[in-house]
């Protein structure tokens, strides 16, 4: 009987394991664990490769045409569908089939989980963000601090620091691209005008190194973040797991798909299918931490109780994308030196939304122009000209909104064992975008409300809330403040499933901190060292 079994190796599983190991436990991690291919790493600037490399289609389009995914399959973001990132979502349909009812979910069974392909944006939740959680931001601070030191986070002290909770411990901010620098300069010149409309703009906090950290090199501004997994400068939980394994602090078993558990009161038995031969193996433990992601943890719980009746809540940040063209930059050369991730952050706090709206500005230097071919209202040759002259002048604002539980959005287990995701309630968005469109026009950034598009449900990938931390006793599958399932006291949930609400800020950093907190509580109960 193991002390602790952790299911999943995404950000929650890895940081629960890290904290448990720090407390003297040696958790057993069960994971499917798809790993990246053994391709030769890309080691030049993307644009040098595109200019010269006759084999570039292998990694930009893919030997199996992975980049063409959006022409014949449900939408995936440019990074998720990038050929070398294919392993991140590999096998999802077969391992954990889903029934999508207006909610197109992305799943990962990769070592390191979906965070292998994340945008690396990190935010600390404040008490307003945590208003529905059974703890305060000060309870997460020690975990946030430990994460910051281990991961390496770059950013600046600026107008957004109070919103994102950074007080120090950051590497210097990364160099913004040309358009972001212009926008930031304009904002700094006309700050009161923005503040009157409830808008603040600042540098992003990214788990992306601007300086060397240990044996990890700093960012090279080579535009490869969309094309090369495992860049040392971009933090991934797979790095932490590698360290834990190297130091023999965990027992990591890949090739296992956890399917259900039985909590007998004295111990928990996890049933996991060994994918090599499809045989079901049982693992006994004193405690189990579910960290398979908000959807898969819900699936495991419902399967464990063979429950096809209960509807579990489902949260995801409603999201919009609004492109802006900087007229004076039309005809500028491509931004050859960029890291390709978030360039600027923004927050809206005003009368047009009842909670803070968080936004990020991205450039368009890393994805392929072909990804947006169908969005241009010009003949194909006109799209070609736009690719040359217009794309380097485009910045895209992505706005994220808080999500709270509602009866229209839920998941449940179907009779044939699939997880059904239903989304029938989407908020009406657009008012906040209009503020940005009006304000940015004065800086020469042109857009129109009709260009602002909501992302279809499920495409935001920030899923949460299926097994929420709540005192609502009508919910059988609620969890307490340390993630303990109400219906199975030896099982704790450590991923975003426990979020009772989903604030507008990207939740990855916080779900890591919550996982550490849950692991701490489990270690307390198992008698781990202090």
């Amino acid at each position: 009987v193991a002390d602790l079994v952790i299911i999943g190796s995404g950000p929650a599983g890895v940081w629960a394991a890290w904290q448990a190991a720090r407390r003297g436990l040696k958790p057993l991690i069960l994971d499917v664990g798809h790993a990246p291919g053994a391709d030769k790493p890309l080691d030049q600037n993307l644009y040098d490769l595109r200019r010269q490399d006759p084999a570039q289609a292998d990694y930009l389009v893919g030997k199996n045409f992975e980049s063409l995914n959006n022409l014949h399959r449900p939408y995936q973001s440019p990074k998720i569908k990038s050929p070398r990132f294919h392993y991140v979502t590999q096998g999802g349909d077969e391992l954990a089939p889903m029934e999508s009812l207006g909610f197109n979910a992305t799943q990962s069974f990769a070592l390191g989980g979906l965070a292998n392909a994340w945008g690396a944006s990190v935010y600390r939740y404040d008490d307003q963000d945590l208003r529905a959680f059974p703890f305060k931001s000060r309870d997460l601070d020690p975990y946030y601090d430990a994460l910051t030191a281990e991961m390496g986070i770059s950013g600046a002290q600026d107008d957004l620091s109070e919103h994102f909770g950074w007080k120090g411990g950051l590497q210097p901010p990364l160099r913004p691209d040309r358009l972001a620098a212009r926008l930031l300069a304009h904002y700094e010149s006309y700050r009161p005008r923005f503040h009157r409309r409830g808008i603040k703009i600042g540098r992003p906090n990214l788990a992306l190194l601007s300086e060397k950290l240990g044996d990890r090199e700093a960012c090279r501004y080579d535009n490869l973040a969309f094309w090369q997994p495992g860049l040392p400068c971009v933090y991934s939980p797979a790095m932490t797991l590698a360290t834990l394994r190297r130091e023999a602090n965990v027992d990591y078993r890949s090739g296992y798909l956890a399917e259900s558990f039985i909590d007998s009161g004295a111990q928990v038995v996890v049933k996991a299918r060994r994918l090599q031969d499809n045989r079901v193996e049982e693992f006994s433990a004193r405690k189990v931490i579910l960290a398979a992601g908000a959807l898969n943890s819900a699936r495991i719980v419902l399967r464990s109780f063979q429950d096809t009746q209960t509807r579990l809540p489902l949260l995801e940040n409603p999201t919009t994308l609004t492109p802006f063209v900087h007229a004076a930059s039309i005809g500028s050369p491509v931004q050859r030196e960029s890291h390709g991730l978030a360039q600027l952050n923004t927050v809206y706090e005003g009368p047009d939304w009842d909670s803070p709206v968080k936004g990020t500005f991205y450039g368009y230097s890393s994805p392929l122009a072909s990804d947006v071919f169908r969005d241009f209202p010009l003949a194909a040759r006109g799209v070609l000209a736009s690719s040359q002259y217009l794309l380097p002048a485009i910045t895209v604002l992505q706005l994220f909104y808080r999500d709270t539980p509602n009866s229209g959005n839920h998941v449940y287990l179907t009779a044939d064992g699939r997880l059904a995701t239903r989304c029938s309630v989407q908020p009406r968005l657009g008012a906040v975008e209009k503020h940005f469109i009006r304000l940015l026009l004065r800086a020469g950034f042109i857009s129109h409300p009709r260009l602002s598009k909501p992302l279809p449900a499920g495409n935001g990938i920030h899923y949460a809330g299926t097994l929420p931390m709540t005192e609502d006793s009508s919910q059988r599958y609620r969890t307490d403040s340390v993630g303990r399932l109400a219906c199975a006291g030896r099982v704790h949930v450590a991923d975003a499933a426990v979020f009772p609400e989903l604030p507008a800020k990207n939740h990855t950093f916080t779900l890591m901190a919550v996982a550490m907190r849950v692991a701490d509580a489990v270690a307390d109960e198992l008698g781990g060292r202090l």
Binding site: Q56, H72, S370, L378
Partner: protein, 137 residues
Amino acid sequence: LSQAGPDLDRECALLCRGIFGLEPPPGCVDAYRRAHAVVFSAAPAEAARFTEAVRRGWDLEALELALRLRDKDNALTKKVNILFYLMETRPEGFPLFVNTDRAPLRAWMRLTAETLRSAYKLLKGWVLLRRLEASRG
């Protein structure tokens, strides 16, 4: 119901010449065939709907624009998009897709010209679309 190889080759060459002003670079036609098989694996009949337009040598760029503005998930737009991916990711395509100089005047002139050309192509595309739909009854 699926498209025959020679039809696909002709289609690829026609699109390449019409849009990029080039003969298909080496390997492009083969890649187009393979990508086409992947994208249209579930709907081969959909892919074959434009075979007649290819055989008649119609202006596929115009037809595609008219179709795209009506429904951006139509088969012809997917075909053109496939070719865009293939051309964008080969060295020959680099200067067609990427601007490496500061050239605002050239950019504005080219974009203005392409906007006017697109208006003309759209009108032409609507006419072709009506002919295509009429021929299908």
